[in-house]
């Protein structure tokens, strides 16, 4: 890949305008003609792909406080009491 000036800022604008659709298409993005000559847009695409790939690895790591289960139990107990009263 080269970073010569075979593309113009307008080419980059046009390519980047299409990116939301291109990312969701079946096309191999890095085979796009614009990226054959544009180092800047190639770098952008690599970064965005990398961010999306890393996001998939974000695991659920946060635990709710024990108070959440206590509140659920209390709410269920109240509900059961109300159900008994009404039946």
């Amino acid at each position: 890949m080269t970073s010569d000036r075979t593309h113009t800022p307008r080419d980059c604008d046009e390519f980047q305008r299409q990116l939301p659709e291109l990312f969701d298409s079946d096309r191999d993005l890095l085979a796009h003609a614009h990226l054959q000559t544009c180092e800047n847009c190639s770098s952008l695409v690599r970064d965005l792909e990398y961010i999306a790939a890393q996001a998939k690895l974000l695991l659920p790591i946060h635990d709710p406080s024990p108070a959440v289960w206590d509140n659920i139990q209390n709410a269920l107990a109240r509900q059961a009491k109300d159900d008994n009263k009404s039946s």
Binding site: L44, R46, V68, W69
Partner: protein, 227 residues
């Protein structure tokens, strides 16, 4: 690079926009990738459906982390995330008898939790996706066009904590779509259905979210999001 890695592997053909996929209609393989079966879950579900409180607690302990993490990532607020985790499990208790096993239980529960969060945000009157969003890249979120200069790429530089912090810094609308699509694995048509916006709007928001994250992650080491 090979095929576009932003797409979810093994996608089925997209349905028409007017008929967003339900969790049940998502490809089983995709559901299993995100929601692998948990040992003992089936028995706990069956017993909880019969009203067994201890089994319901088992289900809570199996799924609390994932439901709470989802709420926290979508809301960015611990107190609200705990309230809505509670609400999601109370709703689960009310509806568990209707679970038929057509999809993974965690997929079903997860969708319920997403709906609880979205309903909460609607009640608060927050626009889930701003109406003026278009596919035009905004100046703020556009990349620099520094021709000839090679940018440092992010590849290999992001750890989980740094990315988590950057996601927290996203504006709510961007964060919502990013979490649903890139973290949770929902498709744009599903997100559009949930957020009541167009598929194009969902794609646009996601793109802007990633662009914003890229900018955040490229900040110098003394920047806000860097560990």
């Amino acid at each position: 690079m090979t095929k576009n890695t932003l797409r979810t592997a093994g996608k089925a053909p997209s349905p028409t926009p007017a008929q967003p996929l339900t969790a049940e209609a998502r490809p089983v393989q995709q559901q299993r990738r995100r929601n692998p079966p948990i040992a003992g879950e089936l028995a706990a579900i069956a017993q909880a459906q019969q009203g067994d409180g201890a089994s319901f607690e088992v289900l809570y302990n199996m799924h609390k982390r994932r439901v709470y993490s989802l709420c926290l990532r979508m809301l960015g607020n611990v107190a609200e995330a705990e309230d809505l985790t509670q609400e999601a499990f109370l709703q689960l208790h009310r509806k568990i008898a209707t679970f038929r096993g057509d999809s993974a239980f965690s997929t079903w529960l997860h969708r319920m939790a997403v709906n609880v969060v979205l309903m909460h945000l609607r009640k608060k009157g927050l626009p889930l996706v701003s109406l003026e969003e278009t596919l035009e890249p905004s100046q703020e979120d556009g990349p620099r066009k520094d021709f000839g200069a090679r940018d440092l790429t992010l590849s290999g530089c992001i750890d989980r904590v740094t990315l988590e912090r950057a996601v927290e810094e996203l504006p709510p609308g961007y964060r919502m779509v990013f979490v649903l699509h890139d973290v949770e694995g929902y498709e744009h048509n599903e997100i559009a259905g949930m957020l009541k916006c167009s598929i194009g709007n969902s794609k646009s928001q996601l793109h802007k979210a990633r662009m914003r994250l890229r900018n955040l992650l490229r900040q110098p080491a003394d920047g806000k999001v860097q560990a």
